[in-house]
Amino acid sequence: MSNLAREFGFMLRSKSALLALALLAICASAAVALGLASVARDRATIDRMLAGQVAEERALAAFVEDAGSGAYYGFQPTWDAPSDLAFAALGSRDIAPALLRVRALALEAQIYENEAANPELSLPGRFDLAFVVIYLAPLVLIALLHDLWSGEREAGRYHALAALPGANRRLWSARVLVRLGGVLAALLLPFAVGALIAGTAPLRALGFAGLIVLVALLWTAIILLVARRGARSAVHAASLAAIWFALTLVAPAGANLAINAAVPVPDGAALARENREYVHAGWDRPKDGTMRDFLKLYPLLAPGAAIPPTFSWKWYFAFQHLGDLHVAEQSAAYRDGIARRAELARTAGWLLPPAGLAQAMTALARTDVAAQLDYQMRIRAYHQRLREFYYDYLFSEKPFGPDDLRRVPRFDPAIGS
């Protein structure tokens, strides 16, 4: 214990060590604060949408005349609320929409909409606790530990110290523990405060804290391996910075290039056009064929499927859905391509621990690509419920009035994932 206390005292007297730790703690606190603010903004945006929906439905109630017009004009909100850990790893929530209003028309023309966002703010990457842990903490550890042995050698004390009985345990281990502890404290204390404010589930918070510790241990191990070699402190620092740089900056960017080249994703523009072509050609295709194709999917609707030679909402919504079906394969291939890229990136994470651990953090916080794709699946599931709700009215020719708007199924984040 006295060894730890002594090393702690040494660390407190080192201005540069304190400065590095203070900077890390400030960055971690700022990242947690900005992360909480960003999550609060996301929540407020969702709340505003749900509050605003009331006025929209009131306006719709004033002119809705039948189920068709209700389905056509009735946009319904869907949302992807940030998890209780999102503040610590914001992930892709800035480039993927957290809210989308959909209606019973062809979904493929709606689901790829983007949020209004300034792309220049997304370009440099997120500033969150995950960033501080993955990028900055290793640099601080390198600054604190690279000259563990070489520093003493250069000061001419090494042989005297190494000759002390139990030097390994009493001296070097204590020194490493104290410095590692300082770094962990600078990261974990702000995280703990953030988790308390965000009300993070204890197990998930523990998992994230475990990832933080893992990052710190990994880098401590790398640093000690290098610092063990007998070169000068400056050489150690340069080699370690180069390793950090290769593992954290260059290799993940290179892996991204390689993965995107290896896994092609179908052209989104072609998918969108193909969907539009099929939907709009629906106006000119023989109506019987459209209804026949549609009833193959919904045989139970057959009894009410008779349509007049003029415009009918039944027919209109039938060809809308057939347009989605027409590109279902392309759409699945598009989704699978992205999922495959994400999967390969996770595999690459085993070779590139910083990238692997960063992905583990966003996965735990449900802010990664997988979470985005999952939200899209929930939108799809909801869109189906919404369509089928209206099909029921349209094909049974039940009257639909303002009061029926209240019966429209609502998005439930728990369904469809």
Partner: protein
């Protein structure tokens, strides 16, 4: 001067003999070359894909059969943002914005399908492009090459020997900086070659390419001067290295991210849904086409009837429904324009704040200059959105105009009840061929050069600061007996 050259020569010979330095330079050159080639192929592929998609969508529009013009309003068309002229050098925000915009009546859609949303989570680690190499990797290489240049001489005591040979502080600092500058030029070579190649292929961009090269040269000059000065000021080589790596991490890695996060929270942008709701509420106030008793549309109708001296819309010399659609589109589009202008103002203010924060980090300033030059910045994307909206409005109003002039009023009124009348409302497919194709060109080189002035000025300020630090280091060396 001669002494400085001698010292620079000696330092360069030392670099050539050092394995670390050679490995560093070789790695950077290799990365640069990989970045230049992959970025060029990727961007060329993207440019081709988008041009083909634009041609395909234009051709599809023209190939539509005889139809009621309002059906074409809903059929709509797509606008694809072309790849910026120097995007292969600096793709900027290209991956982080949608590239495909669906243009239809009544609605303003967002740009969909961006590369970042189609990539794995690794995309947030940064993209390996020539610009990334110069902004991020090159300064760190210079740190590795230069941190010890003077500190090493001091530790070995050879600084005094140099002085004994009559070398002044100025020649020592100047010589060491010159040697590092040569390394910087070498480090920039592949990226600059990519830039020059782009300029050769598009001679109109040569001036912009030169300005871009100038901004990166200024940026790396700042690093060369600061690294040499810190090496002279630090107590030890180790101290110099740790200080410089910390400075690099703060300037290149930390500040750009932290600044963006802070700006996003400090100057928030309304969400798409916020804007949609606000527009819907405004429309309900100023003119609700769903409301049969809406005062705005009632007054519009009364005015038309009076102007033509008739009492019923059926007696107007044109199809009232087409004119009504034009009026409705006029109202909504004005709101789209107003709200888009507000959103653009907020985003531009955010970006201006980032440019101003270039005072803390020259990496922000050089990134801004580079993206602006390459026409891959926010400004170009906003210009694309505005051009697409203007095109959408023209297209929709032309189609509404066709409804007013080429579709008989009686047929239009009866078409939902009478299949024969419905058939008569379909006008000739030849009309679709009269709608011009969408075409967007990036802001002109002169406009972009104008927008580069501010970040270049910030970089100039940084060069001045670096020279100040350099002069300070020289004074310290002189006072220490050199």
């Amino acid at each position: 001067m001669n002494q400085a050259l001698t010292i620079a020569g000696a330092e360069l010979r030392l670099m050539l003999r050092s394995r670390l330095a050679l490995v560093g330079i070789a790695t950077l050159l290799l990365l640069s070359a990989i970045a230049a080639v992959t970025s060029a192929t990727q961007m060329a592929a993207a440019a081709k894909m988008r041009a083909e998609a634009q041609a395909a969508t234009d051709a599809q529009f023209k190939a539509q059969p005889d139809r009621h013009p309002h059906r074409m309003v809903h059929y709509g068309t797509y606008a694809l943002r072309p790849v910026g002229p120097l995007a292969a050098f600096d793709p900027g925000v290209d991956a982080f914005t949608g590239t495909l915009l669906f243009l239809e009546g009544h609605r303003q859609n967002s740009a969909t399908f961006g590369a970042a949303r189609e990539s794995s989570d690794l995309v947030r680690f940064g993209q390996l492009t020539p610009a990334f190499v110069l902004q991020t990797l090159a300064p760190l290489l210079l740190v590795f090459l230069g941190f010890a240049s003077i500190a090493r001489e001091r530790e070995r005591g050879s600084l005094r020997a140099l002085a004994a040979y009559g070398a002044g502080a100025w020649s020592i600092l100047g010589g060491k900086a010159l040697a590092l500058g040569v390394a910087a030029v070498l480090a920039m070579a592949p990226a600059f070659a990519a830039l020059a190649w782009a300029a050769v292929q598009q001679p109109g961009e040569a001036g912009i390419a030169a300005l871009t090269a100038l901004s990166y040269s200024g940026y790396l000059l700042v690093w060369v001067l600061v690294i040499t000065a810190v090496s002279a000021l630090a107590a030890s080589a180790q101290g110099a290295l740790v200080t410089l790596i910390a400075a690099w991490a703060i300037v290149v890695v930390l500040v750009p991210r932290a600044a963006a996060a802070w700006v996003g929270v400090a100057e928030p942008l309304p969400s798409r849904v916020d804007t949609e709701f606000a527009i819907a509420a405004d429309l309900r106030r100023i003119g609700d086409s769903h409301n049969p008793n809406d005062p705005h549309f009632a007054a519009f109708k009364a005015k038309l009837l009076k102007r033509y001296g008739v009492t019923r819309v059926e007696d107007l010399p044109f199809n009232y429904r087409g004119v009504l659609a034009q009026e409705g589109e006029r109202l909504t589009s004005q709101l789209f324009k107003d709200y888009a202008a507000r959103a653009a103002a907020i985003q531009n203010a955010q970006t201006d704040t980032l440019t101003a924060l270039g005072i803390i980090s020259p990496a922000l300033a050089v990134r801004r200059a580079s993206m602006t030059g390459a026409a891959t910045d926010l400004g170009t994307h906003l210009a694309f959105l505005a051009a697409a909206e203007a095109y959408r409005y023209d297209m929709v109003q032309k189609l509404n105009g066709l409804q007013a002039s080429a579709v008989a009023s009686a047929d239009d009124a009866a078409r939902s009840k009478d299949p024969i009348a419905d058939r008569r409302t379909r006008i000739s497919a030849d009309f679709w061929k009269t709608i011009p194709d969408f075409d967007f060109s990036a802001p002109s080189p002169a406009e972009r050069a104008g927008a580069m002035v501010m970040p270049l000025a910030v970089l100039g300020l940084w060069v001045a600061l670096a020279i100040g630090l350099f002069a300070f280091a020289r004074r310290r060396l002189e006072r220490a007996g050199l």
